[in-house]
Subunit: 348 residues, 2 copies
Amino acid sequence: MLALDGSKMELSKRDRQILQAVVATYIQTGEPVGSRTVWRRYKLPMSPATIRNIMADLEEMGFFFQPHTSAGRVPTELGLKFYIESLLKKKPLPSKNKREIKENLKELRCEYDLEKVLQESSKLLSQYSKQAGIVIAPKFSRIVLKQIEFVWLNRHTVLAVIVGSTGIVYHRLIPNISKISQPNLNKFANFLNAHFCGMTLGEVKKRLIEDMKKDKAEFDAIWHRITKFSKRLLEPEKEDVYIEGTTNILNYPEFSDIERMKALVKAFEEKGIITRLLERTMEDARVQVFIGGEISVEGLDKCGIIASPYMQGDTILGSVAVIGPIRMNYAKVIPLVEYTAQVLSELL
Amino acid sequence: MLALDGSKMELSKRDRQILQAVVATYIQTGEPVGSRTVWRRYKLPMSPATIRNIMADLEEMGFFFQPHTSAGRVPTELGLKFYIESLLKKKPLPSKNKREIKENLKELRCEYDLEKVLQESSKLLSQYSKQAGIVIAPKFSRIVLKQIEFVWLNRHTVLAVIVGSTGIVYHRLIPNISKISQPNLNKFANFLNAHFCGMTLGEVKKRLIEDMKKDKAEFDAIWHRITKFSKRLLEPEKEDVYIEGTTNILNYPEFSDIERMKALVKAFEEKGIITRLLERTMEDARVQVFIGGEISVEGLDKCGIIASPYMQGDTILGSVAVIGPIRMNYAKVIPLVEYTAQVLSELL
DNA sequence: TTTAGCACTCCTTTTCTCCAAGTGCTAAAA
DNA sequence: TTTTAGCACTTGGAGAAAAGGAGTGCTAAA
């Protein structure tokens, strides 16, 4: 974790002004920023020499670093973090964009599966941010059960259909099950629907196993056989993740190095990496920003991530995010991610 | 299409020998091949000068081209195609690999959804070929109907579950449906199961609409309301495609050019491109090879594709493929693709 | 018809030079 | 004491020039 608080106090108004100017310029240009440039762009009431001195001080404090002696300054991760947390003036998302996002998602929500909505969300995120948009589908165990049905497919296999209250539908094939009559299966389905509807699938799994242990008497041989497959039934499969617009990032010059580009593409190809990465953001119901080394994923070390969970009521279901170069336009993208998460939450 | 037949006749045995040697060397090294190199590697019973002359002839015929006057020769697409079709000695897949593929897929087939099998197939293809493995999921309309069920989710929405004979499961949310009682829905499901089981979903769709027109009398008001949603029910959604190992290709030096790499990654990101591309291969039940310009997809113009459909009985369901650099090891990869398609067909 | 020899071509790599941007330091000004 | 102007110095990058090497095509001899 980057320790900000210590240094924050020591910064004078002018220091912050220069920090702000340098970081903002760097975000725009992607190149080391010199004192003269800052002086010209911001028409600050001091000479380049003064700015140079301040920059040297800020470098000492760890906010900047110099690629080489005679180059301008590049903000360090600490510098960027401080900028994002203390100096950033967010630009609210234009209401035109807000409208587009809302209408787009609302329509899909009414017409189709939740999956379409999530996919479209990631597309919209990538389009508006011109970077990569990511949506993590609701975690299986956090889905609230709405309905469950069983169908025999053949002598050995039962198909279970689990419907979540968000409209998400899962199916599970349960093979090698000894014969249970369809009426009994229906009874079991009714039992589950009656007792567990409204709970999360995680709870259902736990409770189901507990209940069966407790009320052994009540559950006859048939129910017993069913336990075996209850576990399988509620086994989470791979978490789904929708990623769109990865190629947008490739256009930024910081990835025009072949090796770095390869590493980036690799990171995106293995979706598990992304899922695990965003799992972290699902603890806290606010927008979160990770940059560079904090991400600790090879290939993404020159990237920034803006992520926000989306919820159903009070429980966090999944997460939306934008990944871009570390010098992305946080002022614009943070509100975008925030709003998208909000709309998604409203639709659930 | 590349016209091979004309030139094929004119080639002497020695010409073919040189063609073979140059192409094989190029496939290994990826670099222009000179006369001396060929002479050394293959210990041919003639001098480099003779080889040079033959190479010049072959260049005239369009099999080679020279990046510049003082470089070796690179096979043209025509040259490669000729090599693949007439000179290639396929290396059968080692039986160890065969066993691994078969067992791996068989196990998943028994345990899980078809989707897992398809995904694993593409993983295996990519692993063994060290290139990108692709599997196109069965086309919705070609799936043979096994069973269909309906469940009311709420006042307005019906969930339809369609099970194909391959074990593939689809679900469709059908919104904005006027109230039909569950028993009537069940009647409808029974009707569908009784009449259409064993047909492909494409046929089912056609027949269903025809039948309803013909036997208007039989179908009362309820059935009529159902027609509306039958269409929606049998609407194919986006075709699924599994792509694995795209980053493998990036390691080949021919893609170390930044722009080319970007184009390649872009082509892979948009899965629709790949699907459309492989649709072509689903006409003919044999392994097919496309190279370079034939592919006519931006970004894939330096690539080769080896594709083979997989079938259920006599009908082609989908397609498996490997995409790699145009100079890939066709002798090894063709048998790999062939075998994977075969195993997949056996499992269906 | 084949082969050895050789001049020639053109790409690639390395080296060198030059230039611009930017710094840190020093001394003068406010 | 703080700020500013001036200046020498550093460094990476662009571009030119040079060196090196792989391979060709042609010619003349075998």
